[in-house]
């Protein structure tokens, strides 16, 4: 066992895992507040990345303008989506919302390249590309930035849901819409707010993942990592999103480092899903999730 290489893989897995957590966070917020499962989370991230690249590369605006436009664009998009597509589905079976988001994902994957072009564009975070050497670790500035952004938002949202009045109201809405409404909470307003918050994290996720991979429709594939993350951590747990992200990041890196050479490659992609299936069998509500199981 080459321990230095193992540490490298784990270190890289931690940073990538936190970047997964950032995307998973959008998913968790929506589920926590509205009970809806957003299958278009990856496409939200893709759309944000395309928006920021359009500003930074095509219109040659400063990086921060690109980020701000991506945030405003994604918040507007999420608001609009909630108002036009999801609000009419209020009170309908949960599967209706799921199907709507699956349809939305396909539409966004088609519309994205149609509007913004199919070529890959490169956006750079203002942190450079030169690696940071830290003992046995080699840290990529873009990953460190992504991880820090993720941690900031994870902390912020944790505080929001636990300590703020709005956050508590949101949790009440998620817990029981009818009772919350009866207590005078404007359910629709909090639904819109949840989607807007998901829009914000998608925007930032889009920028950091776009910088990491290059911006095109492939960014949406990162959304596939959300499912093992949230199933492992718990669909409605912010802490779970962090822990799930870290587990997925580390496991897939170790699989790629140690199993790929033995079997010829490709284990990185399915190792998290193996874990997910095991988690579903053993602890379907996740490590930190609420023990509420619904048949979907």
């Amino acid at each position: 066992m080459d321990w230095q290489f193992t540490f490298l893989l784990i270190g890289n897995g931690v940073l990538i895992g936190l970047m997964y957590s950032l995307i998973a966070l959008g998913f968790v917020i929506v589920y926590k507040a509205t009970d809806a499962i957003n299958f278009a989370q990856g496409e939200f991230v893709m759309l944000a990345a395309l928006l920021s690249a359009a500003m930074i590369v095509l219109m040659e605006l400063p990086f921060w303008i690109g980020v701000i436009v991506a945030v405003i664009g994604m918040v507007s998009f999420s608001f609009g989506l909630e108002r036009v597509v999801l609000r009419p589905l209020l009170g309908r079976p949960i599967v209706a919302v799921i199907m709507a988001t699956i349809g939305l994902a396909a539409i966004l994957r088609g519309l994205g390249p149609m509007i913004f072009g199919a070529e890959t564009r490169s956006i750079s975070l203002p942190v450079g590309d030169e690696p940071i050497y830290l003992g046995p670790f080699i840290l990529q500035p873009v990953q460190v930035t992504g991880a820090l952004v993720a941690l900031f938002f994870l902390g912020g949202f944790t505080w929001f849901f636990l300590k703020s009045r709005m956050g508590v109201a949101m949790r009440a809405v998620a817990d029981n819409q009818q009772v919350a409404q009866a207590m005078g909470i404007n359910v629709e307003r909090y639904f819109a707010l949840a989607w807007a918050m998901a829009g914000i994290v998608s925007a930032l996720g889009g920028v950091v993942w776009g910088a990491m991979l290059g911006v095109d429709v492939h960014v949406a594939l990162i959304g596939l990592k959300v499912f093992p993350v949230v199933i492992l951590g718990g669909l409605d747990s912010i802490v779970g999103a962090v822990v799930g992200g870290l587990i997925v990041g580390i496991v897939e890196n170790l699989a790629a480092g140690y199993l790929d050479p033995l079997v010829g490659g490709g284990t990185k992609d399915f190792a998290p899903y193996v874990l997910m299936i095991i988690a579903l069998m053993v602890r379907p509500y996740g490590i930190f999730g609420k023990r509420k199981i619904e048949r979907v």
């Binding site: 080459d2 890289n12 070529e119 492939h218 790629a256 480092g257 490659g265 490709g266």
Partner: protein, 416 residues
């Protein structure tokens, strides 16, 4: 008398008309089928590659055509889908195409038997199968550019040159896209590892190839490769450039096969500053300073237009020129053999391909020499390196280990 004269005149006129008509029918335009992908999975290539095809034809036609015969390049976009590719072939055949610019490995494989059956030559530069270099076994398939086997050999030769002329005890990593095309060079690399005494380790990147952090960490930190040979497609070349850069591995120690070698890959990785030192393999020249580019610019100028914007993506655009140019030369050879006004068939053009020699378009094309036995034309490549943010010529046309390639082609022939 007058009536007799009129009859004579009419007869003479009819004779002239008939003979002219016959000549027109025989000496009319020549159709070349063009498969293209401007809208499918590899559209990022097609949108530059196909205009290169057409602009070259436009230049040829503006000069009176080939031996006085106009060329019609009949493009059909198959969206990189095999059923559409097969259908496009049938349409080309129906239109009387004498040769076809194929596009895509699966399409080439699907059509290989049909081409031989219908006696229509098809070309597959940079894709298809390496074994199809064997003209005896694949009479109507012409790779016309270095196959993946030849590219592997050239990559080893380049690696050897860069590592001081001796590979004994050196560590070479092969980073490849995990599909049949990515695996195709493995036997050549394994053979050459034995021959040259270097250690070879392979690293597969699963589709779609947007994540390879662990593989790059392994190459750079655990295996500590002296050199990397990369054979990636689509999005993965740009991701590999970023990953190597971010782990501090010098890109001057990476050489890429032809599908990770375009300006688009470098741009997607963050531009020349990020990709500085990255070595790219090319089967057509890079840049827009060849004589043919001036002719194209001139042609556009006559029409009151600026140069085509696709010309800026010189790697793909030039490959498009190259791909059409070999067809034009094959048609030219066929017409020279049969007569300028003769009706030529696919079989004639096939023979025309097998006479191509010494056409270089001022260096844009390698010193191809296609023969009835060798449909690859020698397996020539050039290396261009990112220097000062631009792809800069790093080598002349070269080929490597032809005896090893020949051995594998013969062995493959014995399998079937």
């Amino acid at each position: 008398m007058t009536r007799h004269l009129a009859r004579l005149t009419a007869s003479a006129a009819a004779a002239v008309l008939l003979s002219t008509g016959g000549a027109l029918a025989q000496g009319g335009e020549i159709v070349i089928g063009v498969q293209c992908d401007r809208t499918g999975a590899t559209q990022t290539v097609g949108v530059f590659f196909c205009p290169g095809n057409h602009d070259y034809v436009a230049v040829i036609n503006s000069k009176g055509g080939v031996e006085g015969r106009k060329i019609r390049a009949m493009e059909i976009d198959h969206e990189y889908k095999v059923p559409q590719g097969v259908e496009s072939y049938e349409r080309h055949k129906k239109e009387g195409a004498v040769s076809i610019l194929l596009y895509g490995t699966p399409h080439t494989q699907a059509l290989a038997a049909k081409l031989a059956e219908d006696k229509i030559p098809g070309t597959s530069p940079g894709f298809g199968s390496a074994a199809s270099a064997d003209g005896k076994r694949y009479p109507y398939l012409f790779p016309v550019a270095a196959t993946y086997w030849s590219q592997a050999a050239a990559a080893v030769k380049f690696t050897k040159d860069k590592l001081g002329g001796n590979l004994k005890g050196k560590k070479v990593a092969y980073l490849f896209y995990d599909n049949p095309a990515g695996k195709e060079p493995l036997p050549i690399l394994e053979d050459l590892a034995k021959l040259e005494g270097f250690e070879l380790r392979t690293f597969a990147v699963p589709a779609p190839g947007v994540e390879m952090g662990a593989q790059v960490l392994d190459i750079t930190q655990r295996y500590r490769a002296d050199f990397v040979i990369a054979h990636l497609f689509g999005r993965s070349p740009s991701v590999s450039i970023k990953e190597f850069k971010r782990t501090g591995y010098p890109l001057s120690k990476v050489v890429s096969f032809v599908w990770g070698s375009a300006e688009a890959d470098i741009e997607a990785a963050g531009g020349g500053a990020v990709a500085e030192g990255y070595n790219t393999m090319q089967f057509a020249g890079v840049g827009s300073d060849y004589p043919i580019h001036n002719e194209i610019r001139e042609l556009y100028k006559k029409e009151g237009k600026g140069p085509p914007k696709e010309m800026a993506s010189t790697v793909y655009y030039n490959r498009g020129i190259f791909h059409m140019a070999v067809h034009i030369e094959a048609v030219r050879n066929a017409l020279k053999a049969k007569g300028a006004n003769a009706k030529i068939t696919g079989a004639d053009v096939k023979e025309g391909f097998e006479k191509i020699k010494g056409v270089t378009l001022g260096g844009l094309m390698p010193p191809l020499e296609i023969t009835p036995e060798d449909h690859e034309g020698g397996g020539w490549v050039q290396i261009f390196t990112v220097k000062g943010g631009k792809l800069t010529k790093n080598s002349d046309w070269f080929r490597a280990y032809p005896e090893v390639i020949k051995k594998h082609i013969e062995a493959d022939g014995k399998k079937s």
